[in-house]
């Protein structure tokens, strides 16, 4: 189970509303490489991990991703605060606005709703841990692209924090994968479940 703490894992204080930027950032809320997909992926995969290290790591990173989800939701909320009809029309936020107003809905930048097809749970630890290494890099690439498009220092500070966590998670998943591989016997010589 989980306990809710009435604080963010890292502070988010956006001074200037910017609906256009909100539409980019929403992708890390409900997009294929976003924080929702990440938390569901790790918290679902952990049940079939073969060793204590992987079970613990997936639980802890999955939990951290839920805190990151809250940060991204906060970013979207604060970027659309106090916005008016003209601003929505001019910014290109209008297609999102028609269905959701300024509500925070898990979708990607082009409006596709969140889909669990973005994550895999195969029950095979080698396959799942490799999936996670790729997932962390995909999220890092998306944050890189957000940084290329955004010129708001308040937003960039938050995005840089999240980007850095992807790199740390990649490192930890690499260590967990190496450990699982080292524990395999010669029967699993190609790291396959055989």
């Amino acid at each position: 189970m989980w306990d809710y703490q009435r604080k963010l894992i890292y502070p988010v204080k956006i001074k200037n509303p910017n609906p256009k930027l909100a539409k980019i950032v929403i992708s890390q809320y409900g997009g294929p490489d976003g924080e929702l997909a990440a938390s569901l992926r790790y918290l679902s995969q952990r049940f079939t991990m073969p060793d204590e290290v992987s079970k613990g790591l997936l639980t802890d990173i999955g939990t951290e991703e839920l805190a990151h989800l809250e940060m991204v939701g906060t970013l979207v909320n604060q970027l659309t605060r106090g916005t008016n009809a003209d601003c929505v029309k001019e910014s290109g936020f209008y297609d999102y606005f028609i269905n959701h107003s300024t509500g925070v809905y898990p979708a990607n930048t082009n409006g596709t709703p969140f889909n669990a097809m973005a994550l895999a749970v195969t029950g095979d630890p080698i396959t799942d841990l490799n999936e996670n290494l790729a997932a962390e890099q995909k999220a890092r690439s998306t944050y890189d692209n957000i940084l290329r498009m955004s010129d708001d220092p308040d937003v960039n500070d938050v995005i840089k924090f999240l980007r850095e966590r992807e790199i740390v998670h990649y490192q930890r998943f690499g260590e967990a994968l190496r450990r699982v591989e080292e524990k395999l016997t010669s029967k699993n010589k190609f790291y396959m479940n055989n």
Binding site: A176, N188, N193
Partner: protein, 137 residues
């Protein structure tokens, strides 16, 4: 040509050549304790807090909680994959204790961070008007 067996069998993880010591070959604690100590030195004194129980003090207390909690979370992940690193575990335990006392100080002044830490009397302090939610700051 390789074909998987038709029967599903779980991974065989009892490699007789596996030795746990190999896991710690490249152990390096991710947080420099001396750097951290310097940060922890600028603890707020009680008189500071009494002189200015205002927004700034609150922000600074929250910042210390955030920083300490970040270190605890990062050490937690590090310890997951390096369970034999004594240096990291010692630091983790120390910071977890610091975090606990920072949170209890904060909650005593500014209200609960956890619903179950609310005061006993009504109205329920968790949803007291005037307190902001994390995204509203």
């Amino acid at each position: 040509m390789y074909y998987p067996k038709t029967d599903f069998c779980p991974f065989n993880t009892d490699n007789p050549e596996y030795s746990p010591s190999r896991e710690n070959e490249r152990v390096e604690c991710p947080i420099d304790e001396r750097e951290l100590q310097k940060e922890m030195q600028r603890e707020l004194t009680r008189s500071d807090m009494e002189q200015s129980p205002n927004h700034d003090t609150r922000c600074e207390m929250m910042k210390k909680i955030e920083e300490t909690e970040f270190a605890v979370i990062d050490l937690n992940l590090f310890l997951d994959t390096h369970p034999d690193c004594a240096q990291a575990l010692e630091l983790f335990a120390k910071l977890a204790a610091t975090l606990k006392s920072l949170k209890s100080d904060y909650q005593a002044r500014y209200g609960p961070l956890y619903a179950c830490e609310s005061k006993k009397d009504t109205p329920f302090q968790w949803v007291e008007p005037g307190r902001k939610w994390p995204w509203e700051i």
